[in-house]
Structures are given as structure tokens and as C-alpha cells.
């Protein structure tokens, strides 16, 4: 029970709060703040459950894509904000940093492998979210409204 709490609940709460912090920078107000935060917590939960690999990042991005599409339909507003914020915890900031460290220290082998891992993470995130969005849109076409913007 205790490990469950420390391994999953605490990180998800942290991801939620970090994403709410980001909503202040992106000028998101009201309900959007909550949705973006929940999206961030969801992405981190999926990432942890799937084993913290590149594939896990892909799955987390898919979860975000679907979640954001559903939310944008519920609230009738652009999907952009939710995806942007919710993906941020997974963006490989650590990868960039460690790649730089290895590069400066002259450890070419480790530098290259970290760099490739960073690119892999970034690609997994981008492809996952967009793929989920596209498939979701193809399966559930938006209801036709008058003068859709």
C-alpha cells in the first residue's frame, strides 16, 4: 500500500501540480487549468505503468491525444492547449542535459547513445499524440456545426 502511494500517487500529484504551473505561463484559465493538470497526471501514470521506456512514452502520448480530443469535444474548444501542457512532463529535458554532460566530458559513446535516446523519446511523443488524434478524428468525426471555425 505504501509503495503504491509513493510510486504512483505522489508522482501523479506532482505531475498535476507541475502542469498547473505551466498553465500560468500559457495563459490558460478556468476549467482548462484542471483539464491540463489531469492530462499531465494521466500521461505520467501511463508512462510509469508501462515501464518508463520509449514505448511507454509513446503509449502515454497516445493516452494524452485521446484524452485531449475527448475534452475538446466536451468543451467545444481547440485541442491545442491540453496536448501542449500535458505532454510537457514527458519531454526529455533530462536527455538533453545528460547528453550535454557526456559531450563535455568527451564520452562520445555515451553521448551518442543518450542523444539517440533523447531523439527517440521526442519522436515517440510527437508521433503518439498525433497518431491518436488522427485516428480518433477519423473514427468519431466532429459533429457538423454551423460555421465551424
Amino acid at each position: 500500500m505504501e509503495t503504491l502511494f509513493y510510486d504512483y500517487v505522489v508522482p501523479c500529484v506532482c505531475a498535476f501540480l507541475a502542469c498547473v504551473g505551466f498553465t500560468l505561463m500559457f495563459n490558460i484559465h478556468g476549467m482548462g487549468k484542471l483539464i491540463a493538470g489531469v492530462g499531465g497526471a494521466l500521461s505520467w501514470l501511463v508512462y510509469l505503468l508501462a515501464g518508463s521506456t520509449i514505448f511507454a512514452a509513446f503509449l502515454a502520448a497516445v493516452a494524452i491525444g485521446v484524452f485531449a480530443e475527448i475534452m475538446s469535444r466536451v468543451r467545444l474548444c481547440p485541442v491545442t492547449g491540453y496536448v501542449l501542457v500535458a505532454l510537457l512532463p514527458l519531454v526529455p529535458g533530462g536527455g538533453i542535459y545528460y547528453a550535454m554532460r557526456h559531450c563535455v566530458a568527451g564520452e562520445t559513446q555515451r553521448f551518442l547513445s543518450t542523444l539517440l535516446h533523447t531523439f527517440g523519446m521526442a519522436a515517440a511523443l510527437a508521433v503518439g499524440a498525433m497518431l491518436a488524434s488522427s485516428v480518433f478524428r477519423a473514427m468519431f468525426p466532429r459533429l457538423r456545426r454551423t460555421g465551424k471555425g
Binding site: L24, N27, H29, P78, V91, I96, R145, T146
Partner: protein
């Protein structure tokens, strides 16, 4: 109908959307739909990340074109949602052009914004709660909060000293973050330099540019997608360069 005003209005809407950080297809689609709603036959709208071009034909067959250059901008989701909502309303029931023009011009003014202090709080809170995600403890959380706030001050108020160049600004912020992280760990506030630095760098990381890039490519705007990808890679290099410089500088003390 006054075609000049119509053209200016569509270009302004495109500009506002672009300025709020909307995707290319949304900018093009919104401006085009707005012009269709006012009864134009085949308006042309073209956008790339820093430019919007709108072109229409008058009934005499005379083509007129307006171009708006979009300066470097951040992401403003509230403005994006407002533009989107307004465009939807205007398309559903087009009011007289002057009225629509006034509505679009008023968009940025009566939009709710967080005070600079609120935004600064965001810059502190986000890195603070990233620290536990990267394996840090309470001490790292506090240090990351301080580092993040310092980066926020640097980005929000430091424009006068470090200029508007995005690459340089990111590099300076990143150097500041790593230097401050080393200092805080040295005086015993933080525990791990790596955790504090990475948490702070998360506010600079090009997550937005990366997501946007993929979005443009998926939507078929390869040109804009590639330029945004280049942007993401440049920001990432600026972060690495800045952090390296900061650590080298910190190594002297």
C-alpha cells in the same frame, strides 16, 4: 462591400491567431471561412510561422493582397480560444464589417491575463514539482522552485539586458539555471545538482515547438513543420550550450 476592410479584417484575425500560437491549418482555415461567410468566391490565405498573406479578388476582377509579419511570440491559449470562438460566431451570423473589425481588434485587450507575479509563480511551481518526478527530495523541490523563479525573472524582466534573440535568451537562462543549481547545492539547500538543473531546464525545453512541428507535418504543412522542427532543435542546442557554460563557470568556484 468594402473589400479593403474585409481584407484587413481577415488578415487581422489570422495575425491574432498566429500570435496566440495556433497551428497553420487553423489560421488558414479560420481566415478563409470568415471571408467565405462574407460572400467571397475564392479567397486565398497562406501562412507560415512568421507571416500571414491574405488575397481576394474584387468583383471587377482586381486582385488585392495583404501581408502581415508575425513577430516572435509565445503561446497564449486563452487568446487562441477567444479567436476561435469569435470566428465561429462571426461565420454563423456575419455582422457589418466595421462591427466585426472592432470585435477582432478588441480581442487582445479584454482578454484575462495573469499578472507578472502569477506567471512568475508558474515559473517557480512547474520546476519545483518536476524535481520529485526526477527522483529528488524535498530539498531539491525547494531549490528547483528558487532556480525556476530566477529563470522566470530572467525571461520576464531581463529582455532589456539579454535582448530579444530567442537562442541567446534560452542559453543565458539555461546557464543561469545550472549555475544557480550548483550554488544552491554547494550551500546545502539542494541535494543533487543534476535533479535541480534538469527540473529547472524543463521550463525552457522545446516541448511546444516539438508538438507544433509534428502537428503541422501531420496536417500536411510540411514547410512550416520543418521550420518548427529546426526551431525545436535550436532551442535544445541552446539549452545544452547554456548548461555547459554554466557548469564550466561554476567549476571555477
Amino acid at each position: 462591400m468594402d473589400y479593403d476592410k474585409l481584407l484587413n479584417m481577415a488578415a487581422e484575425l489570422g495575425y491574432q491567431l498566429m500570435y496566440s500560437g495556433a497551428e497553420i491549418y487553423r489560421v488558414e482555415e479560420s481566415a478563409r471561412r470568415l471571408l467565405y461567410a462574407y460572400g467571397l468566391e475564392n479567397p486565398e490565405v497562406f501562412a507560415i510561422p512568421n507571416c500571414v498573406i491574405v488575397s481576394v479578388d474584387t468583383p471587377e476582377g482586381h486582385p488585392i493582397t495583404r501581408m502581415r509579419r508575425v513577430p516572435p511570440h509565445g503561446t497564449d491559449i486563452e487568446l487562441l480560444e477567444r479567436c476561435n470562438g469569435l470566428c465561429r460566431r462571426l461565420c454563423a451570423a456575419p455582422p457589418p464589417i466595421e462591427e466585426a473589425q472592432a470585435l477582432i481588434a478588441a480581442l487582445p485587450e479584454d482578454e484575462p491575463r495573469y499578472s507578472p507575479r502569477g506567471v512568475l509563480l508558474g515559473y517557480g511551481v512547474a520546476p519545483a514539482f518536476f524535481a520529485p518526478l526526477f527522483g529528488g527530495g524535498l530539498a531539491d523541490l525547494v531549490s528547483a522552485f528558487l532556480c525556476g523563479s530566477a529563470v522566470g525573472v530572467c525571461l520576464l524582466y531581463g529582455g532589456r539586458f539579454i535582448g530579444a534573440n530567442g537562442f541567446f535568451r534560452t542559453a543565458v537562462s539555461s546557464a543561469l539555471a545550472s549555475l544557480l543549481a550548483m550554488a544552491l547545492v554547494a550551500v546545502g539547500v539542494g541535494e543533487s545538482v543534476d535533479v535541480v538543473t534538469i527540473s529547472t531546464l524543463m521550463v525552457l525545453v522545446p516541448g511546444v515547438a516539438l508538438t507544433n512541428a509534428m502537428r503541422e507535418i501531420m496536417a500536411g504543412d510540411t514547410f512550416s513543420g520543418l521550420s518548427r522542427t529546426a526551431d525545436a532543435i535550436l532551442v535544445a542546442s541552446a539549452i545544452a550550450l547554456g548548461a555547459a557554460a554554466g557548469q564550466a563557470l561554476g567549476g571555477f568556484f
